[in-house]
Each structure stands twice: as C-alpha cells, then as structure tokens.
C-alpha cells in the first residue's frame, strides 16, 4: 500500500513543483527527494494532501558511509559510497488515510541550511532544534533556533561523523582517569 501511495504523491508533487522535486527512490520505505529551497512549499502542499502529522524529522550525516542506503541504479557496478552530505528526512503520516511518505533533502556539508517547517507542523519546532543541536543544520525562519539537548556553551556538532569528543567540559575530565591517587592515599593515611 505504502509504495503505491508514495508513487501517486510523487506524481502529484512532480506536476505541482516540477524541478524542485528530485528522484523517487524505492527502498523498503520509499522516499522522495526534494530540493532544499522549496521544502516549505512542498511540505505545505503535503499537509493539504492530508499528511497532517510529522512523525519524525531526522538529520543524517553521510560522511564515512560505506554503501549508499538508496539502491544503486546500475547493479553491475561496484556499490559506491554516497556523496558526503547532510540529509534531512521528513516522515509524514496521514491520520485520515493512514498513509506514510518520506521526504528527503540533501544539503551541503559545510553550511547546511534550509527553510524551517515549524510553521506547518508544530512538532517540527523541537525536532529542528535537535537537528541544529546535533548536526548544525540551520533552519531559516525557525522561531528560536538554539541548542536544546546540550548546554548552550557546548562546542561542536556531536552527531556528525567527524565529531571529536572534548577532553574536558568545564574542567571536569571527560575520560575518567584511574581514580585519583591522592584520593586513595588520603584514605590510607587516615
């Protein structure tokens, strides 16, 4: 059921938006590629189609991915690693027809930026903040884009594949060294 629905939705989107819609990729859960500039309009259109709830909004960093998760067009070729980019995936659900579709936006890894959909689905607000917190994806038009899970003064984007763990945070050592020698000594002396 899911696949046919996605296909019809894809066709509708393609006629509506033309070039802004990329490919339709068929996997276990198929998704539609969307150009980053027009994601807000596409999302609004999808909501009008009846996809009234955003189940999940996730960002993915494809750096270091061995084989692309989308199936290769040419099966004879050796599976190639995908482009290094940041993807933002929207999983939509319709509470009327019980259909699901997925939209995917691919972004440049150095400065990922795309319009926010928090005005369309309320839940996107926090999901986008989380994506910003974890990947540094900037959502234009978001009411309050700030870190949500990590503290305000945290450095780096933790879920990126090239994230280096901090040595210490505010003087608290991150890797716990063997328990302080002075601690044990002190106990013996007593």
């Amino acid at each position: 059921m899911g696949i046919t629905v996605s296909k019809t939705v894809y066709n509708q989107l393609k006629t509506q938006f033309g070039d802004a819609i990329g490919e339709y990729i068929e996997t276990a859960s198929p998704f539609i590629e969307v150009k980053s500039e027009s994601i807000r309009e596409v999302a609004r259109f999808c909501k009008e189609l009846g996809f009234d709830s955003l189940m999940c909004l996730s960002a993915v960093d494809t750096k270091g991915m061995k084989i692309s998760s989308s199936p290769q067009e040419n099966k004879t070729q050796k599976p190639a690693p995908p482009k290094e980019e940041i993807q933002v995936v929207y999983h939509l659900n319709s509470t009327f027809t019980r259909d699901k579709i997925a939209l995917k936006v691919c972004l440049d890894r150095t400065s990922p930026r795309l319009p926010s959909v928090s005005s369309i689905w309320g839940v996107a607000n926090w999901h986008e903040r989380e994506a910003y917190d974890m990947f540094g994806v900037i959502f234009d038009g978001h009411p309050a884009l700030s870190r949500i899970l990590c503290p305000e003064d945290w450095e780096g984007w933790p879920l990126r594949k090239d994230y280096v763990f901090p040595e210490r945070y505010h003087d608290v050592e991150h890797k716990r060294k063997p328990s302080g020698a002075e601690f044990l000594d002190g106990e013996k002396k007593q």
Binding site: S53, S69, P71
Partner: protein, 370 residues
Amino acid sequence: MTVHGEELVINMGPQHPSTHGVLRLLLKTDGEVVGEALPQIGYLHRCFEKSAERVSWNGVVPYTDRMDYVAAISNEWSFVLAAEKLGNATVPERGEYCRVISAELQRIASHLVAFGTFGIDMGAFTPFLHAFRDREKILDILEMMSGARLLYHYIRIGGVMSDCDSKICEMIKLFIKDMRTRLPEYHQLLSYNRIFIERTANVGIITREQAINYNITGPNLRATGMEWDLRKCDPYSIYDRFEFKIAVGTCEHGVSGDSWNRYMVRLIEIEESLKILEQAVEQIPAGPISAAIKVFKPAPGEIYARTEGARGEIGFYVISDGDLKPFRVKAKSPSFCALSGFHEYSRNLMIADLVALLGSIDIVLGEVDR
C-alpha cells in the same frame, strides 16, 4: 475587575517532585496563574544516537531499554522491528507471542506507574504504593522471563531471549485474575474520588487539532476521542489475531482531551491489555522462540518502523550501510513530541493544574532527552 501585577519568573525543576525526572519548566506566573510554561530539556541527554552508531545491531537494544525506562520492552520491540525489516529476518510464531506477552505486561506496568505518580501529583500518596505493589507482580513475571527487573534486553533480533514457559503462563493467568479485582479498587481510591475529579476534569485540555499538530500519540491522543492505535491502525507482529478495543476517552467526567480522560484511558488500557494477555496465553503455540541468526548484517537501506508503546508511537529511523553496526539510528519518542507543544496547552493554567497536565501526559525524561 482584574488586576495585573508584575510577571514572576519561576523555575520548576530540574529537581522538583512533580516534574517526573529532570525536566525544567520556566514559568511566567501572575499570582497562581501561569501565563507561559517553557520546558527546558537536555538534563538527561545520554547520547543514545551516538552510542547506537558505535555498537553492533544487537548491542543497540540495551540502549533502547534505557530510553523509556518505565516501558523498556516497547522500545526494544520498535528498534528490533526496524532492524528485522531491514535484514528481512523472520520471527518464529512462539517468539511473536512471547513478545506480545512481554510487551503487554510492560504496558500494564508502565500505566501503573503513571497511575501512581499521577496520584502523588494530585496529593494522594497511597494509590502510588498500591500501584507499585501490583507492579511488583508483573516485575516478578518479567524477571522470570528475562532475568532483569527493569531493563530487560528481552527482545532480540530474530526472536526473544528466553521462553515464556507453562509456569510463567500460569503466573500470568493468576496475575490477570488478581489485576481484574484490583482495578475497581483503584477506581474507588482515586478515579471516582470527588476531589480528584474536581482537580482533573476539564483541566489541561489538549484538543485533537493540537494533538495532531504536535504529533501526540498513544493514550494522550486517544483521550481526545480519536481511535488511533498502531496495533490496529498499522498492525505489526500478530496483533491482528487478538480481540481488543481501542481505549478512547470516555468523557464520563469533563470533556475529551482533559486530564481526567487521559488518566482514564490508561486504566481502560490496562483492562484491554489484560484481554490481550489472556488470549495470548491461551493461544501460544509450541515451537522455537528465536530464529537462528549468527551474525546480523542487513543489506544497505533505510527504514522507519514504529510500534505502539505505552506512551504512544515509538519510531526508529534506521540506516544501514551493510556494516555490523547501524549507520544512523534516530529515535522518535512520544514524550518528546508531547512536550514540544507544552507551552501551547499549558497557557493560563494554575500552578496546580500545570502539575495535573504534566502528570497526565505521563512523560519519561529518558525518552525526551535520549
């Protein structure tokens, strides 16, 4: 005539008896009335998604346990379902039954905690201990099944860890019988207490539009009168074999989507879960409990799988690049979504109502912050 004074900004949490963990609410109050409540989260951010990328497929399961620690098995199941769909693994019949039994037991246990803690929020301490007394019986059964009391690691890719044998089935039957007599007591103690109804009915209303906009699922959505249960609406596993009703808000007191209905939906769901358990224990077939999978290594691909947890839809967006470890795991947790709209439906409530709202949404911070 109304008098408006200066706004008082007050911090509720991260250590506060009724925030159910380490949630922090920034309240802008005018006297007893809360103008705005802004949730601040992240005090329990345990880097689940980073950890999941760095362990094997089966190794992720214990981490999912620790997300929603009150209902661990629902989380395990959701992740395992995603992995199985990616890797095309099949689960033997008996394994599916074991999963259903454990998940439903877990759902009852989770709702009992919700019932008890909501009682504490309302000032009634005793129902909490009565609920925990009955929860201990479930924990006994789950302990016999998995060996752990709280975080089980029971559901594995391809099946379950250990069998639900006849002795356990007997225990479950006894428990069902016992629990059916307890529920009237709960209603007597709390549900139909006049003060409790006064406190919760018509308080903290979440409308259906708000609920769908903020993707609130599970009991909180069903309390608005909407029949949305993934066990029926998007059936997975073997839930289509069991007869049960979707618990929706009864509106016996108050309007749909208020705190009392959210509370009541959970108690009705306990009854429905008992029904499922009864059928599952009767029907459970003989056979293996787990498919023999030595090394789980799914083909490259991505999937979004969801199950109906105790708090709503638990979704896992999993990407595999054909390695022994998942490439990316994103967890969508119902509490996170429910809390993201909190500022909207907590507007102009009194402080005591805010506690009722928060308690009836039944959040688990481990799941919000992950």
